[in-house]
Structure formats: C-alpha cells, structure tokens
Point group: C2
C-alpha cells in the first residue's frame, strides 16, 4: 500500500480508527466506482477533521454502498491556523471559487453575512459545503472549514468575540497596507471581512471603524473584486502569520 | 462633469488628448448604448496604457459607432510594477479567472507556456485579451497587461532575460517560504511561474532548479491549485515588493 497523488482522498463525517471499517455515502460510492473506476482492494485515503488521515483499502464496493478497511494512520490530526473569512455572498461562480480557494488557503471558518449592498438574498449552504469538501480533499487538508448560517453583518459584529481581530478589506481606500497591519498586529485569532460587489454602505463602514477589534486594510492602488481581495488578504496572512513556513507533508511529481 | 464608480470606463487602443475626439469600437458602442443605456452627453472615462485616464462625454452615439469628446485628463499615465506571470493554460473557467485576477493584481505581462503535463493544447488569445481588458477597466488600472504568444516552457527559459528573477511555484514542496525569498531578493524585475494542474514534469523541474535566475518558492502545507498558487504568490509580491503601499486614486462608497 503506497498512497500517492492519484489515490482517491475522501472526507467522511464518520469517526474511524486503524483496523476498523468505514462506510461511504452513496455519492462517494458512485464517485469511486463509476467516475474513478476503482475496484475492491484499491487504496483510498480518508479524513474527518478529528482522526487524522487514514490509509486503507476498498473492502466492499456494491451498488448501494462501499466500505473502507483502514489499515494505518498516514498522518495524525493537525489543526489549521485560527483564521475566519467573513464574506458577503457574491454571484454563484465567484462564490464557488471563493469557498474553494479559502479552503485551500487554510481558512478554519466561513461566515457568510448579508450586507446592505449584497445582491444575492439566498444562499445554498449545501452547495458551499460541497465546494469546501472537494477543495479540502484535493488540497491535502485534514479538515473542512465550518460554515456558519448567514446572518446580517451588523448582527455578526454586535456579538463578535472581542479577542479576534477583524481585518476589513476596505475598497474605499481608507485602509493601511496589509503587511504593515499584520506586522504590528502579530499572530492570534483573526478574521478577514470581504465586502459585497457593491462595497459596504457608509452605514456599515462608519460603525465598523469604531469597533475596537476592527482594522481597515489596504490592498494597493487597483480596485480588487471582493473575491480577489479576500484571496489576496488570506494569502498575505498565511505567508506572514500563518503556517506557510511549513511544507506539504508529502512531496511528489508525476 | 464628475466621474464616479458608476461612470463607464473603457480601454481603447487609440491615442487621445484633451480637446480631441475618440472613436469607439462597435462592441463598445453596443455596450454603452444597449447594455448601460447611456445617452449623448453622458460621462465616460477612457485609457489606452499611454495617455493616462481621460474624462469626457459621449458626443455621438449612433447605430454604427460612438464618439467621445475628451474634456480633461483625470490622471496622468503611471506604470505598473515590472511583474510577469508565466503560466500553463488551465481549464477555461479557471483560466478566465486567472487572467482577470492577475490583471487586478497588477501583472504587467502574461506569458502562457506549454508544459509536458499541460492539458489544453490550444489557446484563444483573443479571449484572454478580452478578459484582461475587462479586468483592467473594472480595477481602475491605466494599462492592460501584454499577452505573449504561447511557447513551450523550455524554449521560454532558454532565452530568458537573465536580469529577471523567476520564482517557481513548486507544488512538490521543494521551495522556501515565499516571504523569506522575497525579503532576501528585494525588488527588481520578477516573474512567477505557475505550473499546469498536473504539476511540472521532473524533466522540467530538474533543469529549472539549475537556472541561475530561478528560485523555487513554497506556499505552505496545503496543495494549492495552479491558479490559486499564482494569485497567492502575486498578492504576496505586491504586498511586500510591489505597489501596495499606495492607495486607490479615487475613494468612494455608495
């Protein structure tokens, strides 16, 4: 048994342990059998956000379900940095993209908020979760970010946990350069807030500027789209204060 | 006349000057007239990558063309940092996204390359250029990045301008943390190289490692998709060595 980048990697909500068996969902069974054309005996990797990464074999692959025999622990569970992304829902394609990229970039919790200029007024949380799971599977993460139910921005801010810094991607140009802010701030629980495509309303920006835990950050002279700003800010944070001094656990090329 | 974020902003390949008139393309005419529903006398902003940003009015808007009267120079021409992105074409949606985001992030030149594991074998340069123009118009840039015709990676490396640093997004985990590399390197002409979805081949990585102008960079423990890696690396460079100490030229909220 030697897993590599071709080995299917599946998230499961179920607990697992070495020597035990794990039941897959019908969707995962279909994916293994009909999309990837795997057979009983083939290698699979599994993770659930608690028990590390298990390496095992397909022990049963039927029409209505599959079973994995977990043979060894490939990696113990590790935690991702304590980083949240608060964001106003954007258009479907941009949102899928944002959730996938935030997951790759190691965000621990996604917090959708309604703002005054948010275009979308409905949010398919199952769809967001599916995007996050797929990105976690493909990026070798050992966890899937949690997704909070959507709430109005001002409600989220009114019961904000005060020890968590809130860095606001302020497209009005009022923020200080992001690396200056990160250098001053140092590590600790952090959240980035990315606005809606239409920007924040003044009735949102004004109270935000007065919050003791909130700082406006600048991302240069060009006006970035909301999802670009979020991805750029998360990247800078991970590079400066997060876990980007670490390397991938497994190296390999084709 | 007072342009704001609602004012149409158009790229033109034509030269313009204050007091002069500028002819728009049929596509731009259609966009102004039928999509944005503008009328003669309405404000428009124009830029061409050489003459700064002109502010003017629609002086004619017919079925087969439109004309802009340039009334004043809103901003003189500025240059973007000397930053290239060398990339292997990825799937269509991811590529559109990458070109748009690289433009927002201030890339000066896009250099598509064929690699051993590149899936796509054809590239629609007109489509890429349209994406770059739209992103430049919307991000308040004063230029559109140049797009080189696609060539094999090893050919591009064989006549590489030696004074330009090449930072390779190395998904095999061999690179040093990006900010460490940027701090050591300092400013100067730079290019990032983002691999294809399948990663570089060993026959590409090995010679690249020996090139005196090339350095492998690391982007943390998670395996990023090629487009995510490119966007993340460009963001870190702009924040650390580029122009992100500057602010947008015009501030405003809704």
């Amino acid at each position: 048994m030697s897993a590599d980048f071709r080995t299917p990697r599946l998230f499961t909500p179920e607990p697992f342990a070495v020597g035990g068996r794990l039941r897959l969902t019908p969707a995962q069974t279909h994916y293994l059998k009909n999309v990837l054309r795997r057979k009983p005996g083939d290698d699979v990797l599994v993770f659930n956000g608690r028990d590390g990464e298990g390496e095992g074999r397909i022990s049963a692959l039927g029409r209505d379900g599959a079973e994995i025999e977990v043979a060894r622990l490939r990696r113990p569970q590790t935690s991702t940095p304590d980083l949240w992304l608060v964001f106003a829902p954007v258009k479907k394609a941009a949102m899928d993209n944002l959730v996938a990229k935030a997951t790759e970039l190691g965000v621990d919790r996604l917090v959708p908020v309604w703002t005054q200029h948010t275009q979308a007024r409905r949010l398919n949380l199952d769809r967001l979760e599916a995007q996050a799971i797929e990105a976690a599977e493909q990026s070798d993460r050992l966890s899937v970010p949690g997704i909070a139910p959507p709430r109005p921005l001002l409600d989220v801010l009114s019961d904000w946990p005060g020890e968590r810094r809130l860095l606001v991607c302020d497209e009005t140009g009022g923020g200080r350069p992001i690396l200056d802010v990160l250098d001053e701030m140092g590590s600790g629980p952090t959240a980035f807030l990315a606005g809606p495509e239409g920007g924040f309303a003044i009735s949102e920006l004004d109270p935000m500027r007065k919050l003791p835990f909130s700082t406006a950050i600048g991302l240069g002279p060009r006006v970035l789209r909301a999802d670009t700003a979020a991805i750029a800010a998360l990247s800078c944070w991970q590079a400066r204060l997060g876990d980007w001094h670490e390397q991938p656990a497994f190296r390999g090329t084709r």
